[in-house]
């Protein structure tokens, strides 16, 4: 579809090319194919390079070859030989590492209300043997809509129960889930048992705060017992009768898998961390809506937090109305490793703006960028290959004409996953074109 020799350092021609690519790709979604492996070195020259590690190079370059970044730096003084490379002039534009959306169900659900399309929650309370990767649907229409906003990788995870199972990290341009996998079974997901909250009238007849607290305690006890037995199971000689659930915990106890615990209130977070410590595990806290209240505790225990959905209402009626916007910034500024996630699946395309909000409410922009790039990569354990524009890492990155954290200026012209020049078309652009053509409007 695209011819590499068309690309020159001439900005006008580049623009023309982008327009051409867009019009040529106006086929049905089924024809949006995963891109081929990088054949030629690519040099992005002259733009604002947001490295993702906190630094920004105003007139920078990024070079990548065979899918890996081979050079990043200041373009003011450098000269490139262009005979063996595509040179892309990005003057006035921005380069970012691909955004990483953790803790979601992309590819595991197509329509939220249609049961046949739901593949993220199994029956049962203790499901460590459940693995999300095998249900990841690369033909889902969702991923293409995320790529268009700069989200190029995702951690997909099962949900439900006390132990939901294993997540995996995928890149969003693949033929099948094997291709997609960046890190298989990266983490085990636990939902800390919580006492439900009530709306409005403040309670339900026949239930007391005490009865709910008891139920919660029972669930915690069940979870603890399972962890204890699973640990013993995996340390001892293999028993005559295999327990697949307990066997599935082996990677976690061996340190080959991270432990993610969803918890929101300060009490639950503390309890969850202390629970993990009993098993010599350092958990990552998911949710963390009250994490800002216990930054010291989190730091002392070296616990990272994936703050869920900064665009949320405050937990309590009395809370600062802007608290959810500020939470991640408070954590970051206190020295806690923090990343950002969004609920569900299609919503992931708003991930950049969540980071924008974090920047609005107390965090330096480049640091806010880290909460959806390098920090996420560190938490997920993929920082050696992803999360920032640094030599040796995968060339998973994109070019935006403006600040990608702001919907006003986010405009992704080009994106690469592992050096592959991916197709940025999607169902929505196609339908836009179809009907704009019908009405004869732009």
């Amino acid at each position: 579809m695209q011819k590499k020799e068309d690309i020159t350092m001439n900005k006008k021609i580049l623009t023309l090319f982008v327009a051409l690519a867009a019009s040529m790709s106006a086929f049905a979604q089924a024809n949006i194919s995963p891109a081929k492996a990088q054949a030629k070195k690519v040099i992005l020259l002259g733009g604002v390079v947001h490295t993702g590690n906190g630094t920004v190079i105003n007139n920078g370059y990024v070079v990548f070859e065979k899918g890996k970044i081979t050079g990043v730096g200041d373009a003011t003084t450098v000269k490139f030989a262009t005979n063996d490379a595509e040179l892309v002039n990005i003057n006035g534009k921005h380069v970012y590492p691909g955004f990483i959306a953790p803790v979601n169900t992309v590819g595991l659900v197509e329509f939220e209300s249609v049961k046949a399309t739901l593949d993220f929650q199994e029956i049962g309370n203790l499901n460590p043997h459940i693995r999300s990767l095998v249900a990841y649907n690369t033909d889902s229409k969702i991923p293409a809509t995320l790529r268009s906003n700069g989200v190029l990788m995702a951690q997909i995870r099962p949900s439900g129960g006390s132990i939901s199972g294993s997540s995996s990290v995928v890149q969003l341009d693949a033929w099948n889930w094997e291709d997609a996998a960046v890190k298989t079974d990266d983490g085990m997901h636990v939902n800390w048992p919580v006492t439900p909250r009530f709306r409005g009238f403040g309670g339900r007849p026949g239930f007391s705060a005490e009865s709910f607290a008891e139920r919660t305690q029972a669930a915690i006890a069940e979870l603890t017992a399972f962890f204890e037995e699973a640990k013993a199971y995996n340390e001892g000689p293999k028993p005559a009768e295999t327990n697949t659930r307990m066997a599935a915990m082996a990677k976690l106890f061996k340190g080959e898998q991270k432990l993610y615990i969803s918890a929101n209130t300060q009490k639950d977070i503390v309890a969850a961390v202390n629970f993990a410590k009993k098993f010599n595990l350092t958990p990552v806290i998911i949710g963390g809506s009250e994490a800002y209240l216990i930054t010291d505790f989190l730091k002392q225990n070296n616990v990272a937090v994936i703050v869920n959905q900064p665009h949320s209402l405050p937990t309590n009626i009395d809370d600062d109305v802007n608290m959810p916007y500020k939470n991640a910034a408070i954590l970051y500024n206190a020295g806690v490793t923090v990343a950002i996630s969004i609920e569900n699946f299609w919503q992931q395309r708003n991930l950049p703006f969540m980071a924008g909000t974090v920047a609005t409410w107390g965090l330096d922009k480049e640091k806010a960028l880290q909460t959806i790039t390098l920090n996420t990569a560190k938490i997920l354990g993929i920082e050696k290959t992803a999360g920032s524009l640094e030599v040796g890492k995968d060339a998973t990155l994109f070019i935006s004409t403006g600040d990608a954290l702001d919907m006003r200026t986010n405009k992704i012209e080009k994106a690469f996953i592992q050096g592959r020049d991916i197709n940025l078309d999607n169902l929505h652009k196609q339908l836009d074109k179809k009907f704009s053509d019908k009405y004869g409007i732009k």
């Binding site: 209300s113 009530f198 709306r199 949320s312 209402l313 609920e343 703006f353 609005t360 929505h428 009405y439």
Partner: protein
């Protein structure tokens, strides 16, 4: 004898003339004259008159005389009450005594549940179609004496009560009864005291109504049905017949809280009624509005318990409003008194009537006068119930219903000795038996000398000094003069020592009797009074919530104001001003606000007397308008049990205390259209509000705006994703016919109304549709896919009505040309899709395409969270499709104003328009923009700086209240465990079941839902 009885019968209504006269007796008759003389008493005749050293004569159940210097005729039993008091027995105007308490239907699913739907009543007979309308219920026919409950109430001092069958919206008649427990025939004082109402459907198994607004609509329609019924000959209807017959009685309405008081009163006024309202106890929060209803109230003294807040993490789960309500609840009766509201007090809502006195005393400590307290439990309720001729004061000819007390009724040391009801003596605390408290020398055969300490009615301890020194508790029992005591000294002797005996001397107290030891030996014991015991500090009942209360805030919620902010004259200087007018975006421009209006927009405006705010570097825009919102509602946002519910009105259920109002002001929102949900094709009437934080519900309403109504299409109305799918329609085919049928009926109805002399049943449902047909009410229709959008446009054409706005309209881009041709506006989401099948082809370019085709296009929230960031959603019109920024901002300001027909007042910055203005820190379409100040009508309701101060003050106020609750707990006050609450959040699809004041919401916790 018989003559006297007959004479009595004439004095009283025949109802209480001894009905047992008609009953045969198995054996010899035992008829007594019941003649008693109470002498030397302080007789509190009523709240205004006390007779010292008086004499009360009663005969049978009637007071013969009250006064001093009375000659006591022969044949009277004389009871000397020297130093004691006589009070009229108390009256409770609101009880469920002797009828089933708290009826509610078992297995009722409400709309959205899984069971078979119940459309019309399952009650056999010629009754109302809806079982919540049950005025045929008469307490006199279902009442039976409940001795246990009567005993509990009498111990608290009550002598008569009004009995209400608390079941349904129209509940039928209540009856006044005494707490005499002899014979139903005797105790019924008045067979029909009042007609009763509520907003709760009680045991009705009907699906309808599922919401508070549905209850209100049903009651309204019932008034109209009853009026029609009088003049028709087509049908017989017991319920409507009874409803009409009861209109001459006092009308008692059970409402919980001031908001429902105002709602009930509004209905009353619409139909020329004045309700007596059973209040919730929070009237102090909005006392002026409550007073303005002119309603007499029946007020509970059931105060909230303190929360256990020792754990700061748990304390976070208690809201400021909950804490303040705990602190201020006891001031409610005093506040009502000061305001001059006529009210009675009720023990209703207390776990046990025992708490009544402690709570009344707390109310007195918090401002209620003793006189008013007495009135509120005697004469006021008597008058409300029309039984003043029989009870409420100690006067000749009235019933012998009175209390004998040790002291002033309101003193905490007072003891109620006896409660006489209809001349029958009920002993509460014996007058003549000594208090046994004290220290005794106890001697038991075979055990030796011990010390006995009696500290309470059943509490005692035993002590032995010397060689076998021991200290142990003992169990004390007492029945009149008979005393039992058991204890275990562990050794010498081993095992239990059990004593039984009697009080052998009263002054000083001595006891003696038989002792039994565990080895089987028996002997004698004696106890002689040694000295008075030292008073142990006792764990008091609920501690008074102290007089020093924090300030009232409006609304009674976090971020409320002690004083409501007023409209200011302000000059906003030197900003980037987005006018939404021909001038476009002005750089370095000013906006002048005066008297709630925009006075001028332009460069270098003169401030005059106005306060100047330097807005250099800032952006100023008109306030955000949310065309599709579900905040600030109560009791459910969907009335989905029927496919047509145009009779319900969101305006009836506005909740001014919803914190989301404040949160949205913080996002620059100034006007919101509160819509009915999307559970049925024809939903309810919408309410446009301005976010005037702190004002009353009625004051939030956007004055002079056109009425709107919510329609809906697609998966929700056909119940694809919830419920049992029992209600018509379940396909888009049926949806069409729902509209066709409804509007066809509306046209026939309108025609029938025009025929002179027709007795047409007023139908609120059709009235709303007739308004639509006459362009007096406008449609906002929830819609998704092109087929259904097209369908409704055709239905509208063929039946002669107009569609004003399609909301959601996510496939609007597919039929934009048709919508444009019809002049229909579009209010959509920026980028939502994939949450259900009908949004499979929803695209974020929808807004852009519709806008470019020439449709008035808006972005809305349908979500309390997203509403805070509608400016950013408008920014997505730039992201997806490159809508020019100025036009994009109009998606959330001027365009919604146009489709709501209020663009003459709001939506742009122009002299003469309402001063609804936002100051942003940055370009308003940017993620980096914060709303720094939000004005509504020139009133600064959101100010980022003031908010920071408020948060600090709030923290200090919380800390003070937490400390006070901890103190209360340490002093023995009862506490409850905090339970996390969040504000009630509704969206289109929220289905709820509103009954008994409890709202079960059928929706997931948290998260974002758009339907």
């Amino acid at each position: 004898m018989k003559k006297i009885l007959l004479a009595l019968a004439l004095v009283f209504s025949t109802v209480i003339a001894f009905a047992q006269q008609t009953f045969p007796v198995n054996g010899s008759f035992d008829v007594r004259s019941g003649q008693y003389a109470f002498t030397n008493a302080n007789i509190v005749v009523n709240a205004n008159q006390t007779i010292s050293n008086g004499t009360l004569l009663i005969k049978n159940q009637v007071i013969q005389s009250v006064g001093t210097g009375t000659t006591i005729p022969k044949g009277y039993v004389v009871i000397d009450l020297k130093g004691k008091y006589i009070y009229p027995s108390l009256i409770d105007a609101f009880t469920s005594y002797g009828v089933p308490v708290d009826p509610s239907a078992s297995g009722r699913g409400g709309f959205g549940g899984q069971r078979q739907s119940v459309f019309t009543t399952q009650k056999k007979g010629a009754y109302n179609w809806n079982a919540a309308i049950r005025p045929e219920t008469e307490v006199r026919t279902i009442f039976s004496i409940d001795s246990k409950k009567a005993d509990e109430l009498r111990k608290a001092g009550f002598g008569s009560v009004n009995v209400i069958n608390r079941d349904g919206i129209a509940r039928g008649t209540s009856a006044a009864v005494t707490l005499n427990d002899e014979f139903e025939h005797k105790v019924i004082l008045k067979d029909q005291t009042a007609a009763n109402y509520s907003f709760s459907k009680g045991s009705s198994t009907n699906d309808y109504p599922t919401s508070l607004m549905g209850s209100i609509a049903l009651l309204r329609q019932t008034y109209l049905d009853a009026a029609w019924y009088k003049n028709q000959k087509e049908e017989y209807n017991i319920s409507l017949d009874e409803f009409n017959k009861q209109q001459g009685l006092p009308q008692i309405f059970e409402a919980d809280g001031w908001a429902n008081i105002l709602r009930a009163d509004k209905i009353a006024k619409e139909f020329g009624k004045q309700y007596i309202i059973k209040a919730g106890g929070d009237e102090y929060q909005r006392i002026d509005a409550v007073k303005a209803t002119g309603a007499s109230l029946i007020v509970p003294v059931a105060y909230p318990k303190a929360y256990d807040v020792e754990d700061p993490a748990e304390a976070r789960n208690v809201t400021l409003a909950q804490m303040k309500a705990w602190e201020m609840a006891a001031s409610n009766p005093g506040v009502l008194e000061k305001a001059g509201v006529n009210f009675a007090l009720t023990a209703f809502g207390l776990d046990n009537s025992r708490e009544f006195w402690a709570n009344i005393r707390t109310a007195i400590e918090n401002g209620l006068t003793e006189k008013q307290a007495l009135l509120a439990v005697t004469e006021v309720p008597a008058k409300m119930l029309g039984i003043s001729d029989k009870v409420g004061s100690i006067e000749k000819g009235k019933l012998a219903n009175f209390l004998i007390t040790s002291d002033n009724l309101f003193k905490s040391s007072n003891i109620i000795h006896e409660n006489w009801v209809q001349g029958k003596r009920y002993i509460v605390n014996k007058m003549d038996v000594s208090d046994l408290k004290g220290v005794y020398n106890l001697n038991v055969d075979g055990v030796g000398a011990l010390t006995l300490k009696i500290t309470g009615p059943t509490a005692a301890s035993i002590e032995r000094t010397g060689a076998d020194s021991v200290k142990t508790t003992a169990t004390l029992g007492r029945n009149g003069d008979w005393v039992t005591l058991s204890f275990n000294l562990k050794k010498n002797p081993k095992g239990d020592v059990r004593l039984t005996g009697y009080i052998s001397s009263e002054s000083p107290i001595a006891m003696k009797g038989e002792a039994a030891l565990s080895d089987g030996s028996e002997g004698k014991w004696t106890a002689t009074f040694k000295e008075a015991g030292k008073e142990m500090p006792k764990r008091d009942e609920q501690k008074p919530a102290l007089a020093a209360n924090g300030p009232l805030i409006y609304p009674f919620q976090s971020f409320g104001n002690e004083v409501l902010p007023k409209a200011e004259s302000v000059l906003l200087k030197n900003a980037t001003v987005w006018t939404n007018e021909k001038d476009g975006v002005l750089q370095n421009a000013d906006v002048l606000l005066e008297n709630g209006k925009i006075k001028a927009v332009g460069k270098n405006l003169a401030a005059g007397a106005a306060k100047v705010i330097d807005a250099t570097g800032k952006h100023i825009t008109p306030g955000i308008i949310d065309e599709h919102s579900h905040i600030a509602g109560s009791g459910g946002i969907n009335e989905g049990a029927q496919s047509v519910s145009s009779e319900v009105r969101i305006g009836d259920i506005i909740n001014s205390e919803d914190v989301n109002i404040y949160r949205q002001l913080a996002g620059g929102v100034t006007t919101s259209q509160i819509l009915h949900g999307s559970a049925n094709p024809i939903g309810g009437q919408s309410q446009l509000i301005k976010l005037r934080w702190g004002k009353l519900p009625e004051e939030l309403k956007f004055a002079g705006a056109d009425g709107f109504i919510k329609f809906a299409l697609g998966e929700n109305v056909k119940q694809s994703n919830f419920g049992s799918g029992q209600r018509f329609p379940v396909t888009r085919m049926g949806v069409e016919q729902t509209f066709v049928d409804a509007f066809t009926r509306a046209k026939d109805y309108e025609a029938a109304l025009k025929v002179k002399g027709n007795n047409v049943r007023r139908d609120l449902e059709l009235d709303a549709l007739v308004e639509i047909l006459n362009n007096k009410r406008f449609i906002t229709c929830h819609s998704y896919v092109q087929s259904e959008i097209n369908m409704l446009m055709h239905v509208a054409d063929s039946l002669g009505f107009k569609i004003n706005t399609f909301t959601h309209i996510l496939e609007g881009y597919k039929v934009a040309d048709k919508m444009k041709a019809q002049g229909i506006a579009a209010s959509t989401f920026s980028d939502w899709w994939a949450y259900k099948f009908e949004v499979a082809e929803a695209i974020p370019y929808n807004g852009k395409i519709m806008h470019n085709v020439g449709i008035t296009t808006a972005f809305n929230s349908d979500d309390a969270e997203m509403a805070r960031r509608l400016n950013q959603e408008a920014g997505k019109a730039v992201l997806y499709g490159g809508v020019p920024e100025e036009e994009a901002l109009k998606f959330v300001t001027l365009n919604p104003a146009k489709m709501l027909h209020i663009d003459d007042k709001v939506g742009s910055l122009k002299a003469g328009k309402d001063a609804d203005v936002v100051i942003w820190s940055d370009n308003p379409l940017s993620i980096y923009a914060k709303a720094e100040k939000t004005f509504v009508d020139g009133v600064l309701y959101w100010d980022m700086e003031k908010d920071a101060q408020k948060l600090k003050q709030q923290q200090a106020e919380r800390a003070r209240l937490v400390q006070k609750m901890i103190d209360s707990k340490n002093k023995g006050g009862r506490t409850q465990r905090p339970m996390g609450t969040t504000s009630t959040l509704y969206n289109c699809e929220t289905a709820s079941d509103y009954s008994n004041g409890f709202e079960a919401i059928n929706a997931e916790e948290g998260g974002h839902h758009h339907e």
